[in-house]
């Protein structure tokens, strides 16, 4: 064994970066920005009934695309099934097995058993919806054929370490994004108040509403059930210490700027810690990871229950707002070397503006727009969302990079 090999062996295992893919285009963004794996939903069986999700042909293309770039694809089937919901499941599982998805994420025991018995090639991950909080529960699921547990958001990293050590299961934990206030999978507010089954994709986000709390004549208006968003950059060393196999970024419904930034930052931060743990705090400051995570719309951040049980400081207690410092402008589709960048426009921009290119790795770069051309080559003053335009060529761009613009406060 030579010295380089010895040094390599000493590197701690880096947790996988698992990014959300709400659509095929977001899958591509996540893969290019460094996702080791993405999770996505088909047309049924997931918890985002009203979102875009993937058709079977998109799923097939997504798997092909991700696998060609060494990323894995996990498909969510994590609703709690009622009897009639099993219709079409067998057919869909056959399809998933045929296209070789890397795992399915499941909550329901009946579904876990059905897959274990009939689809031996499909790897099962237990969804956070199952609220697995302890070693005994993890062992129950292990015996049913589950290979990985996505722990409940109430579990601390210390607890996760024990669960990992005692069960030898793969452990996945959330590191970033919106959080349920309730024990996941056990909240039925939407079910009874709006007839929308939150555990079958109909969550109406009642926990984000403003409530009036009344007690003995006292009345208080508050967002008492709304949780702050999870942010885990600071506690990355604890993820390594606990031996966590995968860190998950929440947000299949969020836009490409979110998917790109979170994936890029967590991949970079995890790699930095892996290679140079003693310099992590210094690098975090130098590279501005926390600042980058503030550049898209989000609620105030908290560590949630990662270090200790979430306390009252984890309650957001504000109306939802669109506070952000940057807007997503578009995605680079194609590059004509030395001539132009072909951009799919997400938000309107005009000549004379300065945009930023968020490269897959490294610092963002500014780009001044002295000219915009339509896709056909005619000069235009400003763009329309949904259109495709040409902007001046810059060297640091590559297909799929995101363009953003600073929001003037």
């Amino acid at each position: 064994m030579d010295s380089l090999e010895v040094a390599f062996k000493k590197l701690p295992q880096r947790p996988e970066v698992l990014a959300p893919a709400g659509s095929l285009s977001k899958l591509k963004v996540a893969v290019h920005y460094g996702a080791d794996a993405v999770y996505l939903g088909g047309q049924k069986f997931g918890l985002r009934a009203a979102s875009e999700n993937f058709t079977n042909s998109e799923l097939q293309e997504g798997v092909k695309y991700a696998h060609a770039r060494k990323s894995k694809v996990y498909v969510v089937l994590n609703s709690f099934f009622h009897r009639q919901d099993f219709e079409g499941l067998d057919e869909f599982l056959t399809f998933l097995s045929d296209i070789k998805v890397d795992a399915v994420i499941v909550s329901d025991l009946g579904v876990v058993d059905f897959i274990s018995q009939n689809y031996k090639s499909l790897v099962i991950h237990l969804s956070t919806q199952a609220s697995c909080l302890n070693v005994s529960s993890a062992l129950f699921w292990k015996e049913r054929g589950v290979k990985r547990i996505v722990l409940g958001r109430e579990v601390t990293l210390n607890e996760a370490k024990i669960i990992k050590e005692k069960t030898k299961l793969e452990i996945e934990m959330f590191i970033h994004g919106s959080m349920c206030m309730s024990y996941s999978g056990h909240c039925v507010i939407s079910n009874y108040t709006q007839g929308r089954d939150s555990n079958r994709g109909g969550c109406a986000h009642s926990c984000r509403f403003e409530y009036k709390l009344k007690n003995n004549g006292q009345e208080i208006s508050t967002y008492f059930m709304s949780s702050k968003d999870l942010e885990g950059v600071d506690v990355i060393p604890h993820f390594f210490d606990a031996g966590i196999d995968s860190v998950k970024i929440e947000g299949r419904m969020k836009g490409p700027l979110y998917a790109a930034t979170t994936t890029k930052i967590y991949r970079e931060a995890l790699e930095c810690y892996q290679q140079n743990p003693t310099e992590f705090v210094k690098l975090k400051k130098e590279k501005g990871w926390t600042e980058e995570l503030n550049k898209f719309s989000h609620r105030d951040y908290t560590n949630g229950s990662l270090i200790g049980p979430a306390d009252i400081s984890s309650i957001y207690n504000k109306r939802e707002s669109e506070e952000k410092t940057f807007d997503a402008i578009g995605t680079v589709l194609e590059i004509k070397e030395g001539q132009y960048l072909l951009i799919e426009v997400r938000n309107k921009f005009s000549c004379g503006e300065t945009l930023e290119i968020l490269p897959f790795r490294g610092k963002s770069e500014k780009i001044y727009l002295d000219k915009i051309l339509s896709a056909s080559g005619s000069e235009i003053e400003s763009t329309k969302p949904g259109s495709v335009v040409r902007i001046p060529y810059v060297k640091c761009a590559s297909p799929h990079v995101i363009l953003r613009r600073e929001v003037l406060q």
């Binding site: 099934f81 009946g110 109430e154 909240c187 108040t193 309650i315 495709v388």
Partner: protein, 402 residues
Amino acid sequence: MKYTIFVEKADELKLIDLTAVSHVIISPLGLSRFGKTSAEESYVIIQAARDLKLSVIIEFDMYCHESLREGLFYSFKKFYLEALKYSPKELLVKVCDLGVALFCAQELPKINLHLNLETSFHNPHSIMSLANHPIIGPALKRVSLSPELPFMEVKSIARSLHLFNIKTDLLLFGRLLLFSTPRELLTPHFEEILKIKEDLMIEGGSEESPHKGFPILQNKQGTFMFNSKDLCLLDIPEKLREVGLDSWVIDLRFEEAEKRVRLTNQALSLTDIFGQEKFLELKNTYERPVNRGFFLTNKSDILLPKLKNNRLQNRHQLMIGQIVDVCKEQGRMAILLRDPEQKIKAPAKLKLSSPTGKEKDMVVHYFEDAEKKQLTESSGHNLLFIPWMSGMTTRSNVFLDL
């Protein structure tokens, strides 16, 4: 039909007409989410129940965080082994957490497990899987089914579980838990009160929700929110008989003892002989609004398919892309292809559909790339140009017409 009732003190049993009662629920402090009854009082209730030939259900229904697991299991084991000394007719342990169920069945092989499936598993496959489980299955004696299940489903699952000799129950009269969290959500607003009181029950409502008057409880286990209308199925006695459950649960744990006893007696009397007047009397005593929940129809089963956005969900497999630029002067339009890897060959029959619903067919004999180079097939292009067509605007969808 048999009934299960909740009591907090043994004395309550003396005041309740127990003719049709088979089980008593005890909620011990430190073991149950809502537990208030001390271990000593619990043992007194167990003895009283034994003398009255009633079975006892001990709630051990906390979600068990790993850091609490050993301590919690130790406390439970101690409590349970002591409880057995009072020779109850039958002692059931009601749990929510599957880890707790597995631990109990492994560590205490003679235990009678009672699974609370009010949230989580709603389908017969999952429930039967628990009944068939090599460790939990033999210990499993009773299941509380979800109040979200409609009548026919309850009937079917109850029948299947009987084949395994597993009894079933369902909430008949009481509060519906909507939400629970270990976080202390009321503390920021009622800190002073919570310094003095361990538990605080208040009422909440939202302008953004169609309902008001949600009871919200904070105790040592966290925060719990209940539905604004409590479940009451007492006015459909024929359905209750027909469904074939082993027991119906009257759980009035959040009432003061005296009122609980009165209401429990009123409810039991209604199950004996139903009368509209008696029912109204009960509703008057109870004061809180009640409804039948999802027992007759699960509204979410009806609404769920409507949540699917058809425009997004039923996307045509032959859609190749969308028009993103229309240049009448150049006589061409740009299609942003959905899949640049897909080869589209000319001549091609295309169908175009504008956002306003206009539809047109066209045959394309060649395509162009951005540099106006003619192509007979696309290959790795994001953009493909086709001849301009009147009425078609940006965001028109383009389909291959086979």
